[in-house]
Symmetry: C2
Subunit: 582 residues, 2 copies
């Protein structure tokens, strides 16, 4: 037996007990007559003591030779500490060591195993197993496990069944790029790894399973932007005999439960907002509603004068920055520079100070009088002491720009409190999205999403106007889940494929099994999928998903620890009937 207790367990009540502990040497301090060792394991740190009065000189010599991260087993007596450490749960006691066994030695680790480490990202990834010993990483992984368990508990109790869908499936060129897996037994053929279990969960609904969920790995062979992973985890859910309302209610329940269970936060407000409203009010389909600064559209109150910049703009829109009138001219100029950065791309910014005396002072006083500016204040909800920032231009572009400014200002004003959680449903998404490059429409959610009732005909005349039974769950400005009511009849599905540019043959080859299934009594159904990596990061009050993944890949899709991917044997290739052509 390697231990009677863990390193996080001993308290006053254990004093005088004989105990055996195992763990890593976190730190040693040698004061000559006494040597202390901090012994660490997953559960905490316990102070070991060796002193000249009570410990054999042989044992003291052995203790002095311990290096950082040595693995040791000690037996000794729990004693009261002379100087207590109120910062750790075991701070009242220490263990007077009687026996010390070195279970394994350690080379000096390439970075310090501390909450704040001196190791850079690359080094920490190469030695991820050492990085995981650090509390922040370890706690993130434990937190992730807790979130997953809570999800499973809630959904199981709500009657959802976790069903494993296959990983070796069929490649479908629609959407992102698939990872493929050559089949040795079926020469020249390939499986694909799932981008999501979408079609399988729909088939489970056709199969009568009624409520399905799965926490499941999904795969996308994309060029990796920062903080994207080629493999990621989804909480995947589907329900039969439901309308959008049923799904929103079910997963509002899950969200509230999770926030209560893992964060201790009670959610009382769970608003819903249409996509159109979100774009209008926040310039964004995943608005952070922890704070205000809603958009005020100013076309009516700004296009009646001689200011051509505004007059020629499709949209003139502003936000009120709380307390922003305190900004110096220089600070405002910097803000203007910020929106003009290529990442944001505005051509300029108009501002209007709201003075304490109720008067206004704008950068366009030449064109607008106090009366005009009062109307701007009204439209943006600006109060005395605020600053109104106004952008103008093409509607979609200017909304995106002002949204970026809104988020930046909120960050600077500390309005994005990681301890506050404000969930929101965004509903009534467009069914289709125009790809500006190709001029083709593609499915905004996916090709299985059903249009709003009665809007199928509109696909022929005004595709962009068709709204879908599609919804996103937004938390603190992040999309954490998205889903839709699905098409469940063959004809509508065929129509959708046609509008997405599939020939009937292509549709049949790729999704024939699904359309066949729809002919055998497919119930109405819909679902949602959550990105677990992001959800956990947001619940953890952090932004980087990589910190919540045990063994993440870098931006080239490489695991630098195991050094994968790698070349494979010629014989392996031959068995797969493949040849590499560089």
């Amino acid at each position: 037996m390697y231990r009677s207790h863990t390193c996080g367990e001993l308290r006053d009540s254990h004093i005088n007990n004989e105990v055996t502990l195992s763990g890593w040497v976190h730190k040693t301090r040698d004061k000559g007559f006494v040597t202390w060792v901090d012994l660490r394991d997953r559960y905490g740190i316990t102070q070991l003591v060796f002193d000249e009065d009570r410990t054999s000189s042989e044992l003291i010599a052995k203790a002095r030779e311990l290096g950082r991260e040595f693995v040791v087993q000690v037996t000794g007596k729990v004693i009261e500490r002379a100087s207590k450490n109120p910062n750790i749960p075991t701070g009242n006691i220490e263990v007077l060591v009687e026996e010390l066994i070195i279970l394994n030695e350690s080379k000096t680790p390439p970075f310090t195993i501390e909450n704040e480490t001196d190791g850079g990202e690359d080094l920490r990834m190469k030695y991820r197993y050492l990085d995981i010993r650090r509390n922040p990483v370890k706690n993130n992984l434990i937190f992730r496990s807790k979130v997953s368990m809570a999800v499973r508990k809630y959904l199981s109790e709500e009657g959802f069944i976790e069903i494993e869908t296959p990983y070796l499936i069929k490649s479908t060129p629609e959407g992102a790029r698939d990872f493929v897996v050559p089949s040795r037994m079926n020469e020249g053929q390939f499986y694909a790894l799932p981008q999501s279990p979408q079609t399988f969960k729909q088939l489970l609904m056709v199969g009568g399973l009624d409520k399905y969920f799965q926490i499941v790995k999904c795969f996308r062979d994309e060029d990796l932007r920062a903080d994207r992973q080629p493999e990621f985890t989804q909480i995947d859910c589907e329900m039969a005999y439901v309308e959008q309302e049923d799904i929103l209610n079910a997963f509002e329940g899950l969200t509230k439960y999770l926030l209560k269970e893992v964060k201790g936060v009670e959610i009382n407000s769970f608003p819903r907002m249409t996509f159109d409203d979100a774009m209008k009010k926040y310039g964004n389909d995943k608005p952070d509603i922890r704070f205000g600064m809603e958009f005020g559209e100013l076309n009516e109150v700004s296009q009646h004068k001689d200011f051509n910049v505004f007059n020629s703009a499709e949209l003139v829109v502003g936000i009120a920055v709380p307390g922003g009138n305190s900004y110096t001219r220089k600070e405002i100029d910097k803000l203007t520079d910020w929106v003009k950065r290529p990442q944001v791309g505005a051509l300029g910014m108009v501002y209007c100070r709201c003075n304490e005396d109720g008067s206004f002072k704008s950068s366009v006083d030449k064109f607008y009088d106090q009366n005009d500016l009062a109307k701007w204040a009204e439209a943006t909800g600006a109060k005395a002491g605020d600053l109104i920032c106004v952008l103008s231009g093409a509607k979609n572009k200017v909304r995106t720009q002002l949204s970026a400014l809104r988020m930046e200002l909120a960050e600077r004003l500390s309005l994005r409190d990681p301890k506050v959680f404000a969930p929101l449903w965004v509903v009534d998404f467009p069914l289709l999205e125009l790809d500006e490059e190709t001029g083709h429409y593609h499915a905004m959610h996916h090709p299985f999403t059903s249009p709003k009732p009665g809007q199928l005909e509109l696909l022929n005349t005004d595709p962009a106007a068709v709204r879908a039974n599609a919804y996103d769950l937004v938390l603190n400005g992040n999309e954490i889940g998205g889903g839709s009511i699905r098409i469940h009849d063959k004809e509508t599905q065929a129509t959708m494929f046609k509008h997405l540019g599939f020939s009937p043959e292509e549709a049949k080859a790729q999704f024939g099994f699904l359309m066949d299934a729809f002919q055998y009594g497919a119930p109405p159904h819909g679902g949602i999928a959550f990105g677990l990596d992001r959800l956990v990061a947001i619940l953890g009050g952090q932004e980087t998903i990589r910190d919540f993944i045990a063994f993440p890949k870098n931006n080239s899709g490489r695991d630098v620890m195991i050094d994968a991917p790698a070349t494979i044997d010629e014989t392996q290739l031959k068995e797969l009937h493949l040849k590499v052509e560089l």
Copy 2:
């Protein structure tokens, strides 16, 4: 809202309530003046009634047109049934339908959606979504979900953390064949799908996570024997600072919990047996101990006479068949034919009847007297009324043959009761196994398994004699889990790789990251993995794992429903720098 209740929910207490149900038309019976429809969903069946007295003729006409598996929504009043059906929970009531909406039609399904169906395996797999509507399949999937949840609950409460390990890893030629995944971003390189998360879970122990588990898909590109799947699910576990005893105790706990939780069975006996004993007593490293018929070795009491068949045999071994003396000569001849089948491969069988009067009658009375045969009875534990069956030959072969006979007889005697559960640890497995074809030793468990303390030197002189800290969990004659204490120091691991035929360069290229990790304070650790598919099947009292997988593949590794694997686009291949060469 599609339903106010499910089809399994209505009872006497709901009588006179207005309800809305949705589901599939399971069956219709038309008696002219009255039409009944059995409406089915995941939760059960509810009888709908349409009759001339109380239902509009229009509605009756509509009901009469309903086909099997149509999806309908009905609203009506719950009424007491005239003739109750005690066999179903909703059998006391029926719903007098007032409104009927056909949500979706159905073509006639290719097989009946009944507990016993007329559909063959191939057809059921092609239309798996219809097969899943059948109770036996649906219940198996629900059962699987229940088992998984119970595993997670138990392990979480025991302090295990579920951690997701990566799916895109590195190919290692050792062991079974890997499925590989070409990397587009790393030209000419490949990921491999994990055969198990073995090295990652060990790294998590090096990382200090102490207790890990994961229910995880694993992949093996093997030629598929019956009832093997290219992708399968493992309950994967690892613990640090443990000896074999700690692991056996931990997973004895899990097994008992599972049997109690999902089967209501209390396990009081959880024996342990060495590999050598299992082979000696049962001829098998996964003995079914629900019944006796232990082997009696007869060399000493059978090689002293002139019977050359026995005298020349390495092993003479018998079992006592309870009540077997009642077999006719013809039946015994048939048994002899059975052991002589090529699948078993014995050259013949000697038998000895144990008469009620205490006398014996054997097929080799020419050589052995009553005194000799009494000793056979003693060695095999045969009682009056039993039949002793004796095989002889090379030790390993004859054990396998007699084990097959033992299992066959137990089956015929109904001793393999699927309601009885008899778990067993088999311990002290050999470290290495001789591959008779190549003459090379390979790891019996895997190359990370630690030899018994002090036996490392023996590797040089008598590799086959080295025993490992390796154990299997056996349930009712099936290996449901297997694991080992791992090597945790670089030198031992290097020695193991050497004995397994790795050059130092190969070992470094493939497992360098693990051996590196062992140099930074690797704790003693060990673990176990359970095959979830098989575990669930056995707990479910069945043998075929395919019946417990939502979308299984056939023996060619094909998913016949979605028709995968399939060819992929030339452009996809080009992006991957691959060419197919048939």
